[in-house]
Symmetry: C2
Subunit: 205 residues, 2 copies
């Protein structure tokens, strides 16, 4: 039955789509370079060179560099929630332990020598204008994170769960940024401990 519709070679959606090989290599290289150096700092020529492909191949799989950046962030988004849910699953029914576990890992990652912060956050800084494809992905990720943190703060029994959730978000974003600003020995190393203090101070007595 030839009734199957022609599927656009879009890597952006539909995880079931059998993506061409070149597109994968491009996205892998883009992920690495965009994260380490920044999106604006990396040109498409650099990407295709390192991926061992050619420019037309890039533009067959991605409509533009901006969309490639958005695809990079969508991939980043998936991996982020994987890490987040790992911490959550490690402490079922204990949101406080979930948060502390997640932040302990974040704090450790920020101490690695080539730590470059959160790809989402960095992209939003690079593209301050609303509506940019990359920024949209970033904003959605952060809004979802805020939603979940507030919900977890509520589950902890905080006096003001929205304030605590937002406070945790501030600490997390601060850790991302401070991690890349100060490097080893920076303030980000204390994020889990500070979060625990803030939680303690926010619980109903």
């Amino acid at each position: 039955m030839p009734s199957d519709k022609k599927i656009e070679a879009s890597v952006n959606e539909a995880p079931a789509t059998p993506a061409p090989k070149a597109a994968d290599k491009i996205l892998d290289v883009a992920r690495d370079l965009f994260y380490r150096e920044g999106i604006r700092a990396i040109g498409v020529d650099e990407i295709v060179k390192r991926a061992g492909v050619t420019k037309p191949s890039l533009y067959r799989s991605f409509p533009s560099k901006d969309e490639l950046a958005a695809s990079y962030l969508r991939k980043y988004d998936l991996e982020f929630w994987e890490r987040f849910d790992e911490a959550v699953d490690a402490h079922p029914g204990n949101p406080r332990a979930q948060i502390v576990a997640f932040l302990t890992r974040v704090g450790k990652r920020t101490q690695k020598p080539d730590y470059r912060g959160c790809g989402m956050t960095n992209a939003a800084v690079e593209y301050p204008k609303h509506g940019h494809p990359a920024r949209i992905v970033s904003e959605n990720n952060k809004q979802e994170l805020r939603r979940r943190l507030r919900a977890m703060a509520g589950a902890m029994g905080a006096t003001d769960s929205d304030t605590l959730g937002d406070g945790l978000l501030l600490l997390i974003e601060g850790a991302y940024i401070s991690g890349q600003l100060f490097g080893r020995g920076g303030p980000a190393a204390s994020v889990a401990r500070n979060a625990d203090l803030l939680i303690e101070a926010s619980l109903k007595k």
Copy 2:
């Protein structure tokens, strides 16, 4: 013998503006554009066009675009410490009130519609490589801020003053970033309250 040639206000020993100096106009425009759009996003042509000067004028006053960016940040640095010291001077001998006052103002600023975060932080994100002129200014500013926050945490009588100082820094950086990510109604609005909670939880009992 009246010369009909119009002579521009020959007396420029005026109290406020001594000269329509090209370098000043350039730095003013650069400051505005770099902060709002990002450094990498703005070309030197755009700067000189908006400043009403020409490119050679820029390069007579600044050796390179990177150095112009560094100059912008040095100016930013001065204004930052002005704001910081305003909060400090408003509450002599009371570091906790100083911090809360400063963060109250930061929280308010983050709610303004065109808020774009901290120019220092943004520049460090845009230039992750160590040694970049702009990044050096940014790193120095942040290290000094950390030093002062830790000192203030000590003056408050915190159990672990370094941890509290770093926690405050995390909240501040988180507010900068969240301010530009979420806009009005974002988590940054609660930075002062969260800082106060964290301080309360960190004091010797």
